[in-house]
Symmetry: C2
Subunit: 434 residues, 2 copies
Amino acid sequence: MSIPTAPPSGFRDFLPDQVALRHDAIETIQKIYRSFGFQPVATAAVEDLAVLVGQGGNENEKLIFKIMKRGEALERAQAEKTDLADLGLRFDLTLPLARYYTKHGSALPHPFKAFNMGPVWRAERAQKGRYREFTQCDADIIGADSWGAEVDVITAILTVFKAFGLAGVKVHLNDRRFVDQALEKAGVPAEKRGAACVVVDKLDKSEPEKVLAELEAEVGTEAAKALAGSIMAVEAGPDMLSAVQGEFAHLTRISDAVKSVMPDAVIVLTPNLMRGMGYYTGPVFEFRHPSLSGSLGGGGRYDRLTEKFGGRPIPACGGSIGFERLMLLLEELGRRSPDALPDAVVTVFSDELRGRSIAVAAALRAKGLSVDLYPGGGKLKVQFKYADQKKARYAVVIGPDEAERGVVQVKSLATGDEQALSLEEACARIAAGT
Amino acid sequence: MSIPTAPPSGFRDFLPDQVALRHDAIETIQKIYRSFGFQPVATAAVEDLAVLVGQGGNENEKLIFKIMKRGEALERAQAEKTDLADLGLRFDLTLPLARYYTKHGSALPHPFKAFNMGPVWRAERAQKGRYREFTQCDADIIGADSWGAEVDVITAILTVFKAFGLAGVKVHLNDRRFVDQALEKAGVPAEKRGAACVVVDKLDKSEPEKVLAELEAEVGTEAAKALAGSIMAVEAGPDMLSAVQGEFAHLTRISDAVKSVMPDAVIVLTPNLMRGMGYYTGPVFEFRHPSLSGSLGGGGRYDRLTEKFGGRPIPACGGSIGFERLMLLLEELGRRSPDALPDAVVTVFSDELRGRSIAVAAALRAKGLSVDLYPGGGKLKVQFKYADQKKARYAVVIGPDEAERGVVQVKSLATGDEQALSLEEACARIAAGT
């Protein structure tokens, strides 16, 4: 059996620069979420399958990585031909949050403003830009039925995009109940509405004519024609414009309030915006960027998700940043991580003098410097090459002569300039960067 | 089917304070690893099963959470009665690192100093203090055969413990080859040596008499008696003391070098130290703390791990911090996270005045303050309770009177003192904390 050195299809390894960039981005998002009063929550990667399945109309269920039972439980399941899997990897952070809140809600502030960041897993067909493990950065407000919650979530996420210098992000806004009304008005029977939504949702990726044809096949020509003017439209038609002056006035309030604090924000009423998740019950929103097909994130109101766990319905609203897409954009923009490159590499002249190098490295670190002690042995030339690879600013050499004189050689790797300095002088020079 | 609200057995939810404490600790460890010149790497949670299994003598293999094949591949496996699982959750970070280095080594500095932090999964019987998902914080040096690598790893990890204010950490040190020699000297045949090691490794948790009896049963009375004076001993006996003056002098060098830069460090030669992992080939070490049974971390040299992936043998040495145990200790020590509690909660007087509160919150945030805007509506009394729950320092109120006068009420939640201030004055007061 040949053992692969690549990660499994759809999974990734990250090189040090990439890890640093991702970590830096996570820290930025976290800092902004915190500054809005969101508190961090964390759940395990693994959930009982019963938690993950059974969410009506949720496409993601098919994409669960299922974990096999173990030991006797597996043997029993095989003998009795029952389910072989009992656990699964979470496919989003919202369902675990709903479980978490049902369990821990009484110990948490009310309303509860949570942020939750981490990997999720979906067994999708791996393809360019679509991964089987990817990071989500969610902000949610549980227990508030006001449109103020949507404003808070959308503003926080826009603030993240702004912090990364992303220009041109558009917020698309719709309401699931507006969709329901349009379907009812068009005479689409209740049992066909879910399927109709799935068809309309394809407008993102498919030709409008094709989608319309598919919709006709699903709900009939008359209904499809009616829908073409309402929820098939890219821009708000008369139906929607009158709705947002009446019973859907909260959409106007959300839009106005976001724009009042972020005057650059572009918010577009988008009647065909569905957001795939079956659990949304009110406003839905999505962030798009001109350089990306698909979305940079999105979310909406899901007032009934905790019911699944036997709780009473609790109003909730949340948004998620598509972290992998954000990283893609940042890479395109040439963003580099403000990575803590080592200030200096301390070389090791010989095994006898290694102790000296260890002491010098420790002394430099004690001054707060980031110091890489060469971990091997051998030629100084190779060690200088190492210092270059690590992008260190200085190389420090302690040979027999320096050891005897009680000095260290400090070489700037940028200029090549080299000086014999006392340890104290060396610290000062490296810290000053001169 | 009743849907559980608790995480699966052995898995955990974390409340906001816990997440903040864990995150803070991870940041501290990361900062120290970086300051030693270690670079971050990251791999996926999921590996091909072929990567995870087949490591000789590795107890952890039995503990793999296996992921079922999906779709047609699953049907085929069921029909053909072949393996139903193709992937697994990683049970440590070392094996993935060996794979990663075999794949990416040519693009990395040489030697490569890596740190790798993240969750790992083991299907152990869940019990107090033992979890099925837990975090590891590894530092590794690949490509250096010098004892300087051990010094670097041990010093970095001790620096972490020091940063957390942990006193009394002891480093236990041994060499796998010393164990091999002792077994050979005692006349234990090669094929029984692995089993003998497993027995001696139980000294940690079991009565010495019981272990000795088990060892006798395994290797015979004579051999067991010989081993009682060497690798069964808690303290270095004559065998070990002469070894560390001869061919195992590197253990003395490691110990002396660490103590030269960390004078408080206590390093103990411990002939019975095994470290369970089958892949260690030279020095092994373990960190212990008087308040903990078991270890706070450990590691060793594993010069042959990349062979598994078809590469040539590469010298490597690494150490791991037992993050969950560290958190346990920090909790006992009463460590609190320097959590960014909100500076202020901005209340919402009414839905009509919500826009005003949104604007005030945005203005305060623009000054760099951490501001929680109340996301719901309703009585101010409830909102003040919320501000208490969030441990905010101030509550800000904008009622009709304040809106008209263009001021905001700023109430200190510590003293109850309340003042009507202009927005600018409010920013200044909250920032100053007066």
